[in-house]
Amino acid sequence: MASIVNSLLVVVLGLNLFALGSSRLNAVIRIVALQGALLGFLPLLIHQPIGLAAVVAAVAAIVLKGIVIPIMLTSALQRAQIKREVEPLIGLLPSMILGALVTGFAMMFAAYLPVAREHSDLLLVPASLATVLVGFILLTTRFKAISQVIGYLVLENGIFIFGMLLVDAMPLTVEMGVLLDLFVGIFVVCIIVNHINQAFASMDTRRLVELKE
């Protein structure tokens, strides 16, 4: 089972790099949707035996992250009529390289962390740290509002991976609450993104500079 989980996580890490290296926003949305959906299968692989609660949580996560949120983001993108993230703070290739470096760093750093013995052969901790850091790179180096939302989703995926280490700490109700908050958050953000687009005729957050000291 550990080898399946680890290969899944390697795919997830690869998707991180794809998300960093792609300029077409539609493609990035799909990459992150695939990442979220793949991660949705993780609880079924890790939590044995599979109970009803695990199935419900997995289905909810897959539907929300793989279908609902991508549709919301894509429609926000269509209304804004933009296709690409132009001139990010760090170019696409350099940010991919940075992402790879960060992933390597996470692998080395995780080796020093006091991980419980039953988790030592799983890549969950390094994959989680790497994905969180990639989320931060996306958040800080991209300027289109929608790219920043995508960065947040990657960050959230990284935290989700860490949650896989904890079987009983998050009961189903709380798990559902987290997903509901994510849905409401993306919903609110999409509304604001549309308004940014209408008010500033652009989705570029660099135009939001009115408020400062």
Binding site: L139, G177, L211, E213
Partner: protein, 489 residues
């Protein structure tokens, strides 16, 4: 009881959203607020009468919803402040008939429900969900004016806040992992964590504390994660500023109190003290720097809120007798911020501006709101005989008594900087001759029962807290401080 306090406001919020009448809808706010406050007082009475000072909700779920004295104190501050703010909102929205207020009223009520859930939650995962939900329903409140500036403020609030709250979730997971690493079943139940605290894996516990402090500190507005705060408080209606600076920050502070308590029980007080004192003093310093020469009086209040979050963190870091003072300061700050934001909202409405270039002579033009703004300034900067003086004095006293001379001295120095910086702007607003600007709203704004009395009542409360703390409140404060000092077995 717990479910009523949480679900009633949310149900009323749905009703407010469904109601078609823009004029009638705001009435739901004070009605719900009054019911909520009455139930809260009854619940607190039962809490103080119960032998072990905890009140479990009669629902299944194994102690997820439990009210302890600390949660009770936060619940009281939210409920009381919300009632007066709701009253004010009825008057405020009469001047804003041009804007649809359905979403605004619904979100205010949902905010009350979700923050009440935070006060009851004894499962740190559930608490995270509730805090995130309250932060999200608060976003449309900032966006009420639908101007480009308010869009910008809302965007920054959402982005910075979401990152902060995501880190808090990671911190909660780290906390659960510290159980697992120690060979215990991973749990985020508050009682389990307190009981097992001495056994928790320390590296993970330390990392969890940092992440939770940063994450919930973002919601509180501790420097350097405060950047969203001046924008949001500056662009949101005054009443929203009052609810944020007195309600949301208390809820976030409650979350920090929870993890602080677990670290105390784990015997890690030296570790938490350093971080809390550093963050506290840094927040006070940053706030002081940005307050000097600040011309926008709503942004000024936002920085004052950053300063007082710093005081709360500092008081917690000093610990010992300062815990009581910190909890008292939390109440004082909530009431005083209510006075300041509500009166500042009135001044803003009357002048149509919020900088000292546009606003002068508020004492003449709006005698009540101008006087309350001035009195609120004196109170929040720690002048006797108001409530914050007592709590700030007690914190300084405990710092020196505990041998933390540098922290105590810096605390007093920063208070002085803030007094001077804030005073210059506040005096510029209230003194002088009113400039002759055209009234901005129809009918032109005048202080009345609806918008004048709530800040006046809050001011009376602030004065009373400085002279005499009523016995029930004193009991509650002592019980809460005791609860935090002694780790529960």
């Amino acid at each position: 009881m717990a479910l009523v306090l949480i679900l009633l406001p949310i149900a009323m919020g749905l009703l407010a959203w469904a109601l078609p009448s823009n004029r009638g809808r705001p009435w739901l706010l004070p009605l719900t607020g009054a019911a909520h406050l009455a139930i809260t007082l009854a619940v607190l009475g039962r809490l103080m009468a119960s032998p072990d000072l905890r009140l479990g909700a009669a629902v299944s779920g194994g102690g997820w919803l439990v009210l302890d004295p600390v949660g009770g104190l936060v619940l009281l501050s939210i409920s009381g402040l919300f009632f007066l703010c709701a009253w004010y909102t009825v008057g405020y929205l009469r001047y804003r008939q041009e804007r649809p207020n359905g979403v605004f009223c619904a979100c205010m009520l949902a905010f009350l429900g979700t923050t009440s859930l935070v006060a009851w939650a004894h499962h740190l995962g559930l608490m995270w969900v509730a805090i995130e939900a309250s932060a999200l329903v608060a976003a449309p409140l900032i966006y009420f004016n639908h101007t480009p500036r308010s869009i910008e403020a809302t965007w920054k609030y959402l982005l910075v806040g979401s990152i902060g709250i995501a880190l808090a979730l990671l911190g909660s997971f780290f906390l659960a992992y510290s159980c697992l690493r120690a060979g215990l079943a991973p749990s985020l139940m508050y009682e389990d964590l307190l009981r097992d605290a001495p056994k928790l894996s320390q590296p993970w516990l330390h990392a969890a504390f940092v992440l939770l402090l940063v994450g919930y500190g973002t919601k509180m507005g501790l420097a350097p994660m405060h950047t969203w705060k001046p924008d949001a408080y500056g662009e949101a209606p005054g009443v929203v500023g009052a609810l944020f600076a007195g309600g949301m920050v208390n809820v976030a502070f409650l979350a920090i109190l929870r993890i602080y308590h677990v670290c105390q029980a784990a015997g890690q007080s030296a570790y938490t003290a350093h971080l809390l004192i550093f963050m506290g003093l840094l927040s006070m310093l940053v706030a002081g720097i940005f307050m000097v020469g600040q011309r926008d009086f709503k942004r000024l209040l936002a920085y004052s809120s950053v300063e007082h979050m710093g005081i709360l963190a500092l008081g917690l870091g000093i610990g010992g007798p300062a815990i009581f003072a910190t909890l008292l300061h939390m109440i004082n700050n909530a009431a005083t911020k209510g006075v300041l934001f509500l009166s500042a909202g009135n001044i803003h409405r009357a002048y149509g501006g919020k900088t000292t270039d546009q606003v002068q002579g508020a004492l003449r033009r709006l005698p009540l709101s101008g006087a309350l703004f001035l009195a609120g300034f004196l109170a929040i900067t720690g002048s006797p005989p108001f409530g914050p003086f007592i709590s700030e004095f007690l914190i300084a006293n405990s710092a020196f008594a505990g041998g933390r001379y540098v922290a105590g001295a810096l605390f007093l120095a920063f208070l002085l900087i803030v007094f001077i910086g804030m005073g210059a702007t506040v005096l510029a607003v209230v003194q002088g001759r009113p400039s002759h600007t055209e009234p901005v709203s129809t009918p032109p704004y005048r202080d009345g029962w609806w918008t004048g009395l709530p800040p006046l009542l809050l001011m009376g409360l602030v004065l009373m807290l400085g002279l005499y703390i009523p016995n029930p409140l004193q009991h509650l404060l002592h019980a809460a401080a005791h609860y935090l000092e002694v780790p529960k077995p």
